[in-house]
């Protein structure tokens, strides 16, 4: 029997749409899970993905990818590649696995929801592949760190993190519950696949794979490349969904969904990717700053897509651009100060050469952030390590759950009272997101709320660390054992650090 070309049967087999007679549309696609935005059923049937794949092709491709990735892992298993990695890069990698492995698994729920409640057969078909992708991404990003456990026990946090009350895990659970597990099919298509995957992680993974290769981490590079190719395919669910909303007069709703998740994605990106790019990646291997990456990759692509789809840039765009200069530097400082609450060793990344690089990439960095590090370095040299830890909690935003950092002086945090409870926000967009749907977010308790409610006992930092699931052996410390604080100051730095010579004498 002659075999048909794919183009001769693909649409026919894919588009299994029909009008229901024995049940109502609402019974098949409950609005809470599907959210049609009032667009008629048949209108969704125009949904069409740009890049097509059959199940046979999918299985073939995935099998090849798996074989490639695991063969690299096998080849490297007996090598000393992990031991030889830069301490900063190790920090980025250990953080990465815990940040991504479980959310990939949660993304399985999001994809499966679209695979069942997406309003077009073509969409459900693509989401099925997405579901399988995300199962793979969850499993492979647990398997790889698991194979390295005998070299770094804290890689166990790849699985453990999301099952603890570590503050970063609270940040991520809040984000991914909003985006995935507690979301409807249309919103998932826009917020997960268009905003986060197309906009952020697809490009991030491209850069991350290149950085890993540059740093000598071939295993991680191969893994990330393998995942990225899946992301690029299933991320395409967002655009056709957006087109249908815009074509049927629902541009405002689409825009709101984008504006909410772009801001949420940006906050998480600044917290995790910003420090990894500008502080953890070895200086010799940095191809661009975090800001350059955002401007040249992320923002350029978003601008092109907004224009192509007839959408606007989010209303807070100018604020977002301003934050590119300072937010991740502040968050890095906070992460380092609270390193006992992390499962990785953050690299301070402020050697003389690194500070010069930071000042070059972010003019004014030295005056704004370098002065903090001057005081910190002084304490390290004097042996006052206790002064380089924060003895109290940082107040988190009641929306994004990330500590409230502010570039301004004398400006109180943005607050809002809802049902007699005062909520604090790090920024106007976070307050705006909360106001969109207070009932959705009001019940969440931040780490400070839990502390004040008596959930954390004893009510001190020891109790806090135990509550977060961090034993002394798991708590983070400086990645390079403070070597940066003992560098011989160069001529330019000596002017800025007048007490350095005296301090070194005291320390010695």
């Amino acid at each position: 029997m002659p075999k048909l070309e794919r183009s001769q049967w693909y649409d026919l087999c894919r588009d299994m749409n029909w009008s229901f007679k024995y049940v109502t549309e609402e019974e098949v696609f409950p609005e809470a899970l599907s959210h049609s935005h009032g667009i008629q059923a048949a209108a969704w049937w125009d949904w069409d993905e740009p890049y097509k794949i059959t199940y046979r092709e999918y299985v073939h491709n995935q099998a090849e990818k798996e074989a490639g990735v695991y063969s690299v892992r096998s080849a490297l298993a007996r090598s000393k590649f992990f031991e030889n990695l830069d301490p900063g890069w190790k920090a980025a990698m250990i953080a990465h696995y815990a940040v991504f492995a479980m959310p990939e698994y949660l993304a399985t729920f999001g994809e499966a929801r679209m695979g069942r409640f997406g309003r077009a057969a073509a969409w459900r078909n693509m989401a099925l592949f997405g579901t399988l992708d995300e199962i793979r991404h969850g499993q492979i990003q647990l398997s790889f760190p698991h194979a390295l456990l005998h070299k770094e026990p804290r890689l166990d946090w790849a699985h453990k993190a999301f099952h603890t009350n570590q503050w970063g895990a609270i940040v991520l659970r809040h984000l991914f519950d909003d985006m995935l597990t507690a979301n409807d099919a249309v919103s998932i298509a826009i917020q997960l696949t268009f905003v986060i995957e197309t906009g952020f992680t697809n490009l991030q993974f491209l850069g991350l794979a290149a950085d890993a290769l540059e740093t000598g981490d071939v295993e991680f590079s191969t893994l990330i490349s393998s995942i990225q190719t899946d992301e690029a395919r299933h991320a395409q669910q967002g655009e056709p969904t957006l087109r249908i909303l815009v074509e049927h007069g629902k541009k405002a709703e689409a825009q709101r969904l984008i504006d909410v998740m772009f801001w949420r994605g940006w906050r998480a990106f600044a917290l995790l990717t910003g420090p990894a790019m500008d502080y953890y990646t070895p200086l010799a291997h940095r191809r661009h700053s975090f800001k350059e990456f955002m401007l040249e990759w992320i923002i350029k692509q978003f601008n092109d897509q907004f224009r192509d789809l007839g959408l606007e840039r989010p209303w807070y765009w100018e604020l977002f651009l301003q934050e590119l200069d300072w937010l991740h530097h502040a968050l890095h400082l906070g992460l380092w100060f609270k390193r006992r609450t992390l499962w990785w060793n953050p690299d301070a990344g402020v050697s003389v050469a690194e500070r010069e690089w930071l000042e070059g990439k972010y003019p004014g960095w030295d005056k704004r952030f370098g002065t903090y590090w001057d005081t910190i370095a002084e304490n390290v040299r004097r042996g006052h390590i206790d002064h380089t830890h924060q003895e109290t909690l940082l107040v988190p935003c009641n929306m994004c759950q990330i500590p409230v950092c502010s570039p301004t002086v004398g400006v109180p945090p943005r607050q809002l009272t809802h049902k007699d409870r005062v909520y604090t926000f790090c920024s106007e967009p976070c307050r705006w997101i909360f106001k969109q749907n207070p009932a959705r977010y009001a019940g969440q308790l931040s780490i400070v709320d839990r502390f004040l409610a008596g959930h954390i006992q004893p009510p001190d930092m020891k109790g806090v660390l135990a509550y977060m699931g961090l034993s002394p052996a798991e708590q983070g410390t400086d990645a390079t054992n403070y070597s940066w604080a003992f560098e011989e100051p160069q001529a330019a730095a000596a002017v800025k650090l007048p007490q350095t010579a005296a301090a070194l004498k005291v320390a010695s």
């Binding site: 502040a330 400082l333 906070g334 100060f337 952030f369 002065t371 903090y372 005081t375 910190i376 304490n379 002064h387 380089t388 924060q390 003895e391 109290t392 909690l393 940082l394 107040v395 500590p403 409230v404 950092c405 502010s406 570039p407 002086v409 004398g410 109180p412 945090p413 607050q415 005062v422 604090t424 400070v448 502390f451 004040l452």
Partner: protein
């Protein structure tokens, strides 16, 4: 005597801190409790008195938390009056 948790910032620092004070603490003590987490940790000390700002008002050093009407989780800013 009752503990009052505050959201506190020391001017020129970068982050909001949770600081526990007592309702009978004077503003001088409140300033010291906030400064404990910041001065000589991220910011150098200055030879100047510290002040507390609350609701756009600079409070008198001898005024207590309860006298100033500062409620739990209120925002205060501490700064050197140099």
């Amino acid at each position: 005597m009752a503990a009052v948790p505050l959201q506190a910032v020391f001017r020129r620092d970068f982050v909001t801190l949770l600081v526990l004070v007592d309702d009978e603490d004077t503003m001088e003590v409140v300033a010291q409790k906030v400064a404990h987490h910041v001065i000589q940790r991220r910011l150098p000390p200055q030879d100047a008195p510290m002040r507390v700002q609350y609701n756009n008002r600079i409070l008198a050093p001898e005024q207590t938390v309860s006298q100033a009407g500062i409620l739990p989780m209120s925002f205060v800013e501490v700064f050197y009056d140099a």
